[in-house]
Each structure stands twice: as C-alpha cells, then as structure tokens.
C-alpha cells in the first residue's frame, strides 16, 4: 500500500481514529496497531506476513534466550545464530536469483548442468528494512543496551506500518520506550506531522516522479539517443529525484508517526550540502549509515588500528552497503566508489587547505556522477552513459520546469538559513484548523499531476 494512494487514504483515517480511541488501554491498542500494520503489509502480499511474523518470532526468541543467559559465550553464540538466520533469509529472497543465474552460467559452461532451480524469487516489500531492524534489536539485547520486551511489543516494533516498508531504520532503543506507556493524547505534534506529510507528498509526486518521467527514465533507457549535456542533466535530475523520492517517503512516514503520537529518527539532513563523502554519509540515509557503522564498521574494528586497517574496514562496509541495495554489480561498484571516496577523504584530511565551496563542488558532482552507476540497469548501460559525455550535442531535455525541479531540490539545501527547514518549523507551530484545509487543497493539486498509470512505487521499495 503506497502512502499516496486511495487505499491508504481510506486506511489511515480509520487507523488513526481507532488508535487514539484505544490508546489509553494498551491491552486493546497493542493488538489493534499490530493488526493494522499486518493489514497494511498484507495489501502488498498477504503471504509475506508469514515471513514478517517468522522474523519476529525468531528474533524475539533469540533475544529472550540471550537475555536469560548468564554465559557470555552462550550469548554470543545465540546472537551469531540469530543474525545468521536473519541474513540467510534476507540473502535467499534478495540474492537467490542473482546467484542461481550466475552459478548456472558457470556450471553449465563446464558441463556440470544447472545446480540450482532457475526461478525468479519474489522480493518481499521492505525485507531489508525489517531485517535490519531485527538484527539491531537482537544485537542491542546482546550488548545489554535494551531489555527484551514482551512479544507483542517486539512484533509492533518490527511491523509498525509507518516505517515498515522503507524505513527509517528505527532502533529498538528509540521505539520501545515509546511503547512503554500510552502516548499522551494532549501532546501530539499535529501540525508538524501534517506539514511533513505535505512536504513528502510534493517531493515524491510533483518533483521526483516528474523528473523521472521526463528526464531520467528516457535517458537511462536509451543512452545512445542522447548527447553529453542530456546525460549530465539526467545525472543531476536523478540526484534530485532519488532525494525527493526517498526523503519524501521518509517525511510522510515521520509525519504519519507523529499523528499517531510516535517520533522516528531523522533520516536526511540536507545531504547535498555535504563537503566530503564522510559528511555526505552523515546526512544521507542517516539511519542506514549508523546501522552500518554500529553493526558492521565498528565490529570489524572501525578505526581502532592502523590507517590501512581503517581503510579496509571502510571499504568492506561500503561494498556491503552497496550490495544491500540489490543483487547487481552496479550497486557493488557504486558502494566501492563511495568507499574510495571515504578513504580519500580520510587520507587527505588536514593535508590541504581547500575552501568549503570547492569541497562542496567536488563532492556534489562526484555524488551525482556516481548516481549514474547506481541508477543504470547494467554496467554496460552505465558505461554507455559515461561514453556519451564524449558526444557533445545540444541538450534536448532541458526545459524550465526541469531546471526548476532540480533547483528547488538542491539550492535550498545550500542556503545557510535553509528556508524550507524554517518554513517547516514555522508551519509546525500553526493551528491544524488552518493546515488541514490547505493540505486537502494541496492533495487535489498534487493528485492532478499523477498520470493515468498512477504513482510509481518509491525507489527504495525495491531495496
């Protein structure tokens, strides 16, 4: 169920009203919100509710065992088994087809037949997100950062519908305390929530989908039909599109959660303002960055060792971070190149005195160019796109609305007072009686920009 859809427009008001009606009675509210979240998930594919339930039981069971065990060795063993189980199910759904196809080619070429059935496994929506949350939960219990709650609370934490399918990746220690006592019905950030929903809707439907439809999709589908300027425009357009698409989803998720009385962590902080790769990853998909830092980079040794040891850890983290996005070499290369960027950042730190604007210029353009690799359907297409920079013809896709859409995404992130953030903070203090009609009218206008095919899925749904 997409947030900007008629189905969700019917589902949410009912869920909101019932949620607050039952909030003061946790014995009723908890089963209700769990059921509502599973109904939300079942709209995509009912069968995968079993998977979500299985992941919940597996991690809850492991967390209880870890918590009740006095032996550190046993705790580590249980945690390892639990995390391995999570990664195996994630790997099966996400990477089976990729590996089955790759093995089939290799084995077939040496006359050994096809080792694995060649079938295309359906990817459960949001599997990467709820699996990562489950891992963070189990590991945080192992580290003694949280005490495992009752099964019902674990189930709500993993399935809570605003963050279920595309994050943000909420840590248990951020969410479970909010379940400990009913949310206060006199302290709801209604206007902040409505404002975020409005901003997210405009980002996704008006900017991201428009740029995708008019510039990005045509260029990435047929690179040969366009010259260098159009490819460059497509790179900038995709840079704006993916930000608006993903941060738009996140804004809506955070806004919906606020209306329900819950706070989620921040996921974006003006990422195109970054003046280096390290800075970028502190601003882009922040909840994934800190997951990779806390559950991969630091366990690998982090920066506790020689410089080369740290570089190795950075590279491993970023290559796996790239692979997390999907079973394709383009993601691996994208992650690797970001790793190289991070290593270079560290290697050059303090060696040269460069102005901030130059560091921003280099970082922003490198990130935009690397998005070509990320978005391309194959390495061949990515290579063709880069080759088009050698063909310098006149741009055919450059129009005022396209330039405006890109500019309105990127420029406000660079301005020191961050006008959109100030506007958002201001709107968060308005009375909902003013905001609600404005949002209603806004939705009418936004809906008018949707083509007859409907709203395309969020880009991060497939991850």
């Amino acid at each position: 169920m997409l947030f900007p859809s008629v189905q969700f427009g019917i589902f949410f008001p009912i869920a909101l009203a019932l949620s607050w009606a039952l909030m003061s009675r946790p014995a009723l509210w908890k089963p209700f919100i769990l059921l509502a979240s599973y109904v939300f998930y079942a709209a995509a594919s009912p069968i995968f509710c079993l998977l979500l339930g299985g992941v919940t039981l597996w991690n809850h069971g492991a967390a209880r065992l870890i918590h009740e065990s006095a032996s550190e060795r046993r705790r580590r063993l249980i945690c390892t088994v639990a995390v391995t189980g999570n990664l195996l199910q994630l790997g099966f759904f996400k990477y089976y087809t990729f590996f089955a196809q790759s093995f089939a080619h290799v084995f077939h070429n040496v006359g050994l037949g096809v080792p694995l059935p060649l079938i295309n496994i359906a990817l459960p929506v949001g599997i990467s997100f709820f699996t990562f949350q489950a891992i963070s939960y189990t590991v945080d219990v192992k580290r003694g950062l949280i005490v495992p709650p009752r099964l019902m609370d674990t189930a709500i934490y993993l399935s809570f519908f605003p963050h279920l399918v595309a994050g943000p990746i909420v840590r248990a220690r951020e969410f479970l305390p909010q379940l400990a006592s009913p949310r206060d019905p006199r302290r709801v950030a209604v206007s902040a929530g409505l404002t975020l929903i409005a901003i997210g809707l405009v980002k996704k439907v008006v900017i991201a989908d428009y740029l995708g439809r008019t510039v990005v999709d045509p260029v990435f589908a047929v690179p040969g039909a366009y010259h260098g300027p159009d490819v460059l425009l497509a790179a900038y357009a995709y840079t704006a599109q993916i930000y608006c698409d993903f941060s738009g989803y996140t804004d809506m998720a955070i806004g919906l959660a606020l209306l329900l009385g819950f706070v989620f962590p921040q996921n974006f902080n003006s990422p195109y303002r970054a003046t280096g790769f390290q800075d970028y990853w502190r601003r882009w998909h922040m909840t994934l960055s800190r997951f990779l830092r806390d559950f991969l980079y630091i366990p690998l040794g982090g920066n506790r060792g020689s410089r080369w040891f740290m570089y190795r850890n950075l590279m491993i983290t970023m290559v796996l971070g790239g692979l997390w996005h999907g079973a394709a070499w383009t993601y691996v290369i994208w992650g690797t190149l970001h790793g190289v960027g991070l290593v270079t950042d560290h290697a050059l730190k303090g060696r040269f005195k460069t102005p901030a604007w130059l560091r921003w210029f280099v970082t922003f353009n490198l990130i935009a160019l690397l998005f070509i690799v990320f978005r391309a359907p194959s390495i061949g297409v990515a290579w063709n796109l880069f080759k088009r920079f050698g063909s310098w013809g006149s741009p055919t896709l450059l129009t005022l609305p396209v330039v405006l859409a890109i500019a309105v995404t990127i420029v406000p992130q660079l301005l020191p007072p961050r006008p959109f953030q100030r506007l958002q903070d201001w709107a968060g203090r308005l009375n909902p009686a003013i905001l609600a009609p404005a949002l209603g009218v806004l939705i009418l206008f936004v809906a008018a920009t949707v083509p007859s095919d409907g709203v395309p899925p969020f880009i991060y749904f497939r991850f």
Partner: protein, 350 residues
C-alpha cells in the same frame, strides 16, 4: 533460574538520532482529537471535490477485499461528489496539471461498439494477404523513420532494448507504455482514443504493440449490456477493439504493425484468459495481413502453452520471467526485442 534483568546501558551514539528535534524546533502540541479532526477535514475536502476518483480507483483494482473496501467508500463518495458543484470546479482548476495526453474529440471504443452484425458477406480485400504467404516477392523494404513501441507493462523493458538497438541507426523510437491499462477497460485509458492520439502525435511508420496482461474486464456488448470474460461474445468484442486499434495504427496501409501475443502465464486461470486474448488478436488481424504481423510469443517462451521460468538462450540457461509469473524479465525482454527486430527487418531498412 534466569538471572536478574540487566539494566540497559546508555547508548554509545545518542547524538545522531535527533529524537528531540521536534521539541527543539518548537513544534506546537495539540490534542489527539485535533489530529483526527484535521485528517477528517482533509478526507472531506477530497470526497466533495474528487469523490468520483475514489470510485474510479476502486473500479480499476483487481477483485478482492481491497477493491471492495475502496468501492465501499468510493460509491457514496462518488454519489456525494456528483451532487455538488465542487468537483467540476476542482477539475477546471487542476486540469492543466495533468501529464496525460488530451484524448477529447477522438473516437474511442465505446463510440464504435462494433458487433460484427453487418448484413451480407464482408468483402475480402487485397490487404488481407501477406504477399509472402502467396509466394509473391515481398515489397521493397522501406526506410524505418519512427517506431512506436506501446502497450501495457508487458512492453517494458522490451521498448528500451528496441530503442537501444535502433536509435544508433537514426531511427526515432517512441516508448509509450501505459502501465495497468487494458483493451477491455477504458477506466485508465481508452486505447481506441489513445491509439488515434499516438498516430496523430508521433506519425510512426511502424508500431510494436505488447498488451493484454490486464485484460479480463467485462465490456459492453451490442445492446450496451456487459459481457463477462471470456465467452465467445467477449472475445468478439475484444477482437473488434483490437481491430479498431490495428486499423488506426496501420494508417490506411502506410504503416506496419507488429502485435505480440501474450506468453503463457504461471497461473492457469490467467493463462485461460491470455489464450482467449491471443485468439482474438489473431482474428482481429485477418483483414490486413499485408500490414500486420502477429508475433506469437508462445512458441518462443512457453512452447506447448507450458509455463517456464527459464530457457536456454545462446546456449546458456537463463531466467526469462519475473517473479510474478506474468512479465518477462530483462533477459526475456531482450529476447522478445530480438524476435520483433527480426520481423521488422523483413519490412524495413534501418
């Protein structure tokens, strides 16, 4: 006996979650009742200004609980919106924002419900024969200038592969997929009108059509009564609609049309429907075999109407279908594009 519960430690990185940011920004707090009222106001505005869209969205959905729920809201919402002037006012104010082509004034399916009930024996014209079937020499190949690739989601990403192959040779390839649409329904788009718009707008001298995965909707018959899928009557109406599109695309014999049939699907119930769709496509093309090529994908992907996920391509075992058992994946689409190109190559140079 389990040990005493351990007290949670302080998180190591409490600086990066920004959980207090709404407090810091001074977000004003209201009552939960205000949240419900605000959402109710928004819902009310949407119902009075655009209630019929909810009904339309419900009608476009596949049968099931979700559709029933949307229709349960959509029917009264549509009724309310229909009795208030706000709907047309909202349409007037927002119409200019629509990215869809303007199809008004074009002839659609419902304007020409053809029944096949013409009196007398229909005339056979020379267009009914493909010269190669008669052993005649094929007409000289023309230069391919503009190729339109269209259809529903089946046409993606085959359209990209065709464009990637033909664009370097100077062929203008128009990719115009319309996801979720079908010939048997005019809810999302009326393909009778859309095909006319495409011809007027793009002037293609060849058209590739791959559509039919969503087709099982009831269609109005000769008396305006709905005919359910997939009887002979339904197939007749479907074939008539396909024929109307083919006639539009062939542009009085000037252009060539390459119409792909639907490969067998994993779900036997869906496959029954595609068998009827494929039969109707074959029948529809009969008057114009000189200009219309039916590209039968069944022997290519699912010989004997037996579904398969993978097949051998260039000596390599390769997955060709998506996980839904309906669509072709990248490798399958590439193969479909190659089959289409082989056929286009017989009529055109590029």
């Amino acid at each position: 006996m389990p040990p005493e519960p351990k007290q949670p430690k302080q998180p190591k990185h409490s600086d990066d979650n920004l959980m207090e940011r709404f407090e810091v920004a001074g977000a004003r707090k209201f009552r939960a009742r205000d949240a419900i009222i605000a959402v109710a106001i928004i819902a009310g505005i949407l119902i009075v200004c655009s209630g019929s869209s909810i009904l339309k969205a419900g009608n476009e959905m596949n049968h099931g609980i979700g559709r029933d729920a949307v229709l349960a809201v959509g029917k009264p919402a549509g009724w309310i919106a229909g009795r208030l002037p706000l709907r047309s006012a909202a349409n007037t104010v927002t119409d200019w924002l629509s990215p869809d082509p303007n199809l008004s004034g074009l002839s659609g399916f419902n304007d020409e419900i053809a029944t096949g009930a013409n009196a007398g024996v229909p005339l056979v014209t020379p267009d009914a024969f493909n010269p190669s079937q008669l052993g005649d020499p094929a007409p000289p190949r023309a230069r391919l200038h503009t190729l339109l690739v269209t259809g529903d989601s089946m046409s993606e990403p085959m359209d990209s592969y065709l464009a990637q192959t033909l664009s370097p040779d100077g062929v203008r390839v128009i990719q115009d997929p319309h996801i979720g649409t079908g010939i048997s329904t005019t809810l999302l788009v009326d393909w009778g009108k859309l095909s006319a718009y495409q011809v007027q707008h793009y002037h293609p001298n060849a058209v590739v059509v791959f559509i039919g995965a969503n087709d099982a909707y009831s269609m109005p018959g000769p008396n305006g009564k709905l005919v359910n899928c997939c009887s002979v009557e339904w197939a007749t109406i479907y074939a008539q609609r396909v024929r109307q599109m083919m006639n539009t695309y062939r542009q009085d014999g000037v252009a060539r049309v390459y119409w792909l049939t639907i490969p067998t699907m994993r779900d036997p119930a869906r496959s029954k429907i595609t068998n009827v769709v494929n039969a109707a496509i074959e029948v529809a093309a009969e008057p114009w075999m000189a200009q219309i090529r039916i590209i039968n994908t069944v022997p290519v992907f699912t010989p004997g109407n037996h579904y398969r996920d993978s097949m051998t391509i260039n000596g390599q075992p390769t997955i060709v279908r998506q996980s839904d058992g309906i669509h072709l994946n990248d490798a399958g689409s590439q193969l479909a594009a190659k089959v289409v190109l082989d056929s286009v190559d017989q009529d055109f140079t590029f």
